[in-house]
Symmetry: C2
Subunit: 200 residues, 2 copies
């Protein structure tokens, strides 16, 4: 890719191109940007990566990523331990936190059930969730899973598994997103928003 630029640069570009959102061309641009800004960018990023590799771990309770285990959210006494919000991945947990719409705790499944990709319940953090839901302190489990086929399959499966526990199992509402023009929405969203209509 960067012929004659030496194996170090080649290797840097090839690793950068494995990041989501970076193809070979943008990986080359990123490598050049890094090499041009060594003190402000390349050095700090190398340190940040080494730091993250050394310190960030998976929370033994909820499966999130943090430098402490249990993570800051699981260890926070001001969080409502009676509510568990189930998410697919840490990215979804971060999105929920940015929305500041939830003050309970989380459970990161680590994926979704998928017949196509051969992902079964044993590949996800399902039994940990059932254990937490049955420990007596939990009142509600909110399934904040994507509105896709795999997301809904997983939600149905989890609702079944949690039926034995003495908790209410809920899901995020479906409807018109903020700023959503009806013209541009798919039929499924419009139909769901219509079915779930409520007093204005």
């Amino acid at each position: 890719m960067a012929a004659s630029a030496g194996p170090e640069i080649e290797r840097l570009i090839s690793l950068l191109s494995k990041l989501p959102g970076l193809g070979p061309r943008s990986a080359r641009r990123a490598a050049l940007a890094l090499l041009k800004r060594r003190d402000q960018l390349l050095g700090p990023l190398a340190d940040a990566l080494a730091d993250a590799a050394a310190k960030v771990k998976t929370c033994g309770v909820c499966g999130s990523l943090d430098t402490q285990d249990p993570c800051a959210i699981c260890a926070d006494d001001h969080r409502d331990g009676a509510l568990i919000c189930v998410v697919e991945e840490v990215g979804a947990l971060w999105a929920m936190e940015r929305a500041s719409a939830f003050r309970g705790r989380y459970h990161v499944l680590g994926g979704l059930l998928s017949a196509l990709d051969g992902v079964g319940p044993e590949a996800l953090r399902v039994s940990g969730l059932v254990n937490r839901a049955t420990d007596g302190a939990v009142r509600e489990v909110i399934l904040a899973l994507p509105a896709t086929v795999d997301g809904q399959t997983t939600a149905h499966y989890l609702a079944d598994r949690l039926a034995q526990a003495d908790v209410s199992v809920t899901m995020l509402a479906r409807g018109v997103p903020v700023g959503g023009e009806l013209d541009w929405l798919d039929d499924g969203t419009i139909a769901q928003a219509m079915r779930a209509r409520r007093p204005a």
Copy 2:
């Protein structure tokens, strides 16, 4: 951005978001991908960055990046030292090398003259180019600069500065790019391709 995920992850995301092509959202996705694939991606990338920071330097002759100085191209005796191809940045040098259309040596200006951005000749590797062009061994200087206002201003300036040297100064041809449909080309390109037409 990743509330409660600890300062290490915040810092990693903030540094990743400074790479060209990565915004805050894709930086978060990249950070998660790195943290999920520690042994295959995070560790190797940290090493590759540290390695590049330690070993990659700017070639004292042409201004390219390599682990050796002079760079592999300047040090390669099989390259034609009578031809110098002037490029704006190392990215353009890599693009020329990928095209395998040139077997001479390079000169990386490190930018373009820009009245708007206040970039003058002293900010670029111009005097180094003039020195190389006047050392007697060089026969032709090819200005492979972008077909933009700044690119053309810089090309004219360099042609002036090189007039005193006993070299021919040339530019890349302008015309219809490979695969280019006339329908989709801008008028300037069509006009230049028409003026520079040649026997079929």
